[in-house]
């Protein structure tokens, strides 16, 4: 306990010294966070200095071992860092699919060589990764994917198409599910890693209802992938893919993402002096659910560290967390009234309220839909027949 208290005060002092005031303001949209990669630029000097301080300390990935670019914090220390960051409202220094998705999968399934190379690149924000799972004919039913890798001895030749690939046009590398055995549905997929600049890879952005185009169609046309660029075992990529999905769902759920109670009610009252009684009631019911969900997030992270959480619990977290986030944005739109409808005005930062509201609708689709989450809970947690 004394050690932890000391760690808390050290952390507090370090954050005080290294986290610029600008980096303690709420994240308004994805641009406010640094995503790293070969093509990345910093939005401000503060963003750069905060990122660099964290890289040096291992705080972009605090719980990863030091040899892989982390700070080697244990569960209790990592929790304290989370609490202290959330206390001052510190933004994450770096966000990436590498941190949330590929990293945990490599930590579990990667070779030592892969861990040293890829994890350090992720921790330092050098390489930005994208996720090549979904295909036009394989969404919720992901395992029916068709992109095929033809074995040519020392390399595969990959052909096929992925879709909804987030940030494919901004990413440097892709982790990708490729069928390497057409006769075996579950045990015929290999989890490959390759550079998006490899000849034959092309991307085509797709415009979202929010007016942004953060995801793409991704095409593979005779793409050569060296035979050592896979994770786990050949034809056993489904195990890696599923493990990674657990982490993806945990991330999308927002567990540990700090205070989700966005205090919309108090802000609105301050702003306009009144609050419609029915809206107020809905806000209050939302706050109850959101504050309770925060507790669940804390409990989930505590339990998962000591193996007390049900292994399928990330699915429940994702289901509840994303449904809540959608509701939050519905309420913010209602609270904002006609102002929040503005699509490109300066006052709304270029339509942030409405664009963010629309973006949240994807939360319960990406990474597995809410319906699929409920299916998984039915099968793996409640053990219901035929689920």
């Amino acid at each position: 306990m004394a050690d932890l208290d000391a760690f808390r005060s050290e952390t507090r002092a370090w954050l005080e010294a290294n986290c610029p005031a600008e980096m303690r303001e709420p994240v308004r949209d994805e641009d406010d966070v640094y995503w790293g990669g070969r093509k990345a630029t910093f939005k401000s000097a503060a963003q750069k200095s905060w990122f660099e301080a964290c890289v040096a300390k291992g705080y972009t990935v605090p719980a990863w071992p030091k040899a892989y670019g982390g700070a080697g914090l244990d569960a209790a220390e990592a929790k304290i860092l989370r609490e202290e960051m959330s206390r001052i409202g510190a933004r994450p220094p770096l966000s990436s699919f590498g941190i949330w998705m590929l990293g945990p999968a490599l930590l579990k399934f990667g070779t030592e060589e892969q861990k040293v190379k890829y994890l350090n690149e992720i921790a330092r924000g050098e390489i930005r990764w994208c996720q090549g799972y979904s295909e036009p004919g394989a969404g919720s039913d992901l395992v029916s994917m068709q992109t095929f890798g033809d074995d040519q001895g020392d390399h595969w030749v990959v052909n096929g198409q992925k879709i909804w690939t987030s940030y494919a046009d901004a990413a440097d590398w892709i982790f990708c599910l490729v069928r390497t055995d057409k006769t075996n549905k579950y045990q015929g997929i290999t989890f490959m890693l390759f550079d998006m600049e490899t000849p034959g890879v092309s991307t085509k952005p797709i415009l979202l209802i929010s007016g942004n185009s953060p995801f793409c169609e991704t095409f593979f046309d005779d793409v050569k992938v060296p035979k050592d660029q896979f994770v786990g075992e050949i034809n056993r990529g489904w195990d890696v893919a599923k493990y990674l999905l657990g982490h993806e769902r945990e991330m999308i759920s927002g567990a540990g993402g700090g205070d989700r109670n966005s205090a919309i009610g108090a802000a609105m009252l301050r702003h306009s002096g009144t609050l419609d009684p029915i809206l107020r009631a809905e806000l209050a019911m939302f706050d109850v659910d959101a504050l309770a969900y925060n507790c669940m997030g804390e409990r989930f992270l505590d339990e998962i560290k000591v193996g007390k959480a049900h292994p399928a619990q990330p699915n429940m977290m994702k289901y509840a967390g994303t449904e809540l986030n959608k509701r939050r944005h519905e309420l913010m739109m209602a609270a904002g009234g006609s102002r929040s409808l503005e699509w490109d005005s300066e006052e709304t930062g270029g339509g942030k309220p409405s664009r963010n509201w629309l973006r949240t609708k994807a939360n319960s689709i990406e990474g597995g839909t809410s319906e699929v989450m409920l299916n998984v809970i039915s099968k793996r947690i409640l053990d219901l027949p035929g689920a």
Binding site: N261, A263, G265, A266, M268, L269, L275, R280, A281, L283, A284, M285, D287, V288, D289, L291, A292, Y293, C295, M296, E298, R299, F300, D302, E303, V306, K308, Q313, M316, Y319, A320, E371, M373, L374, N375, I377, S378, I381, L382, D383, L384, P385, G386, A387
Partner: protein, 379 residues
Amino acid sequence: MPLYHDDDQAMLADSARQFMAEEGAINKQLRHWRDKGCKDGFGHELWKQFGEMGFTGILVAEDDGGLGLGNVEAGIVLEEIGRNLTPSPFLTSSVLAATALAQGSDDLRGRYLPGLLTGDSVFAVAIDEGAKHHPEAIKTKAEKSGNGFKLSGKKDFVIHGASADMIIVAARTSGGDSDADGLTLFAVPKDAAGLSQDAVKLVDSSVATHMTLDGVALAGDAVIGEVDGGRAVLNRMLNAGRIGAAAEGIGVARGAMDMTVDYLKQRKQFGKLIGEFQALQHRASHLYSEVEIARAAVIKAQQLLDAGSQKAELMVSVAKAKVGRTANLAVREGVQMHGGIGMTDEYDIGLYMKRDRALSEFLGDANYHTERVAQLNGY
């Protein structure tokens, strides 16, 4: 502090689970006393067994002969009480009254705690005036009279009032009906002159009273805490009671959910187990998710309360509101997914529905606590 039970708490949970499943089971307690038309609505033998197990003294300080534990531990016992619908005066005596008495004089603690520890005494609390919980306004008056007080007023929803040896009454010693200050808590013995109670059986077979205080004369030593400073004592007692009721509610919700999920795996229609229908799977999974979240809120509030945190009050209301809605969902889905059999008295799921209704009304329903959350959040 991690948000799960430590080893000692897990051990307590094991013994509480086993004890309640055996001794506090629905057939042995709730149905037995209900069908006998018991005037108390619970069994005194079981209450003494609570004493032997040490449960009665969980919130009583070690110096007073108790276990000196906290709201987390009391909640562990309450969750099992909820799951088995075990009727007992635990919540009113060992949680509410014990929390209030802990702030009382040596004399009061010496007078009442020994009987509580052995399970010989039963205590009740008289707070509500009217059909809804609204302790912000208390009309019952306590006027100075010689060295003591004379209490006059009416109280409702006094659970176990008719069986209680002592009832804690919140009354106004100064100020207007809605003032925060000016309240005082009194320990009123059951045979005090001028105290009369009208017992009513409730939907869940528990027994409450409408209480009339008609110039009940009490000596000054019946005051718990400070004269006019009762709001602080009352709030502490309410926090403990509310989170206790929420913990019991989680037990009710989990009991109803488990029964329902089991039923989905047994009942066949259209040549299939009904649990194969996705419409029911999704509803059961949604319920599971809500119950897990509500349970996390309860543990968090218990821990904050035990740590004396300033955030405890908000989280207690979050937990009580969340459990109120969640347990209600559990029993409604429970009855519906059982079909016709869910409507029969013979089957237990309906008993869960009745208990949930009474329990969530106690010390403020989900609406009351949602309103409090809005206020505590500044709107």
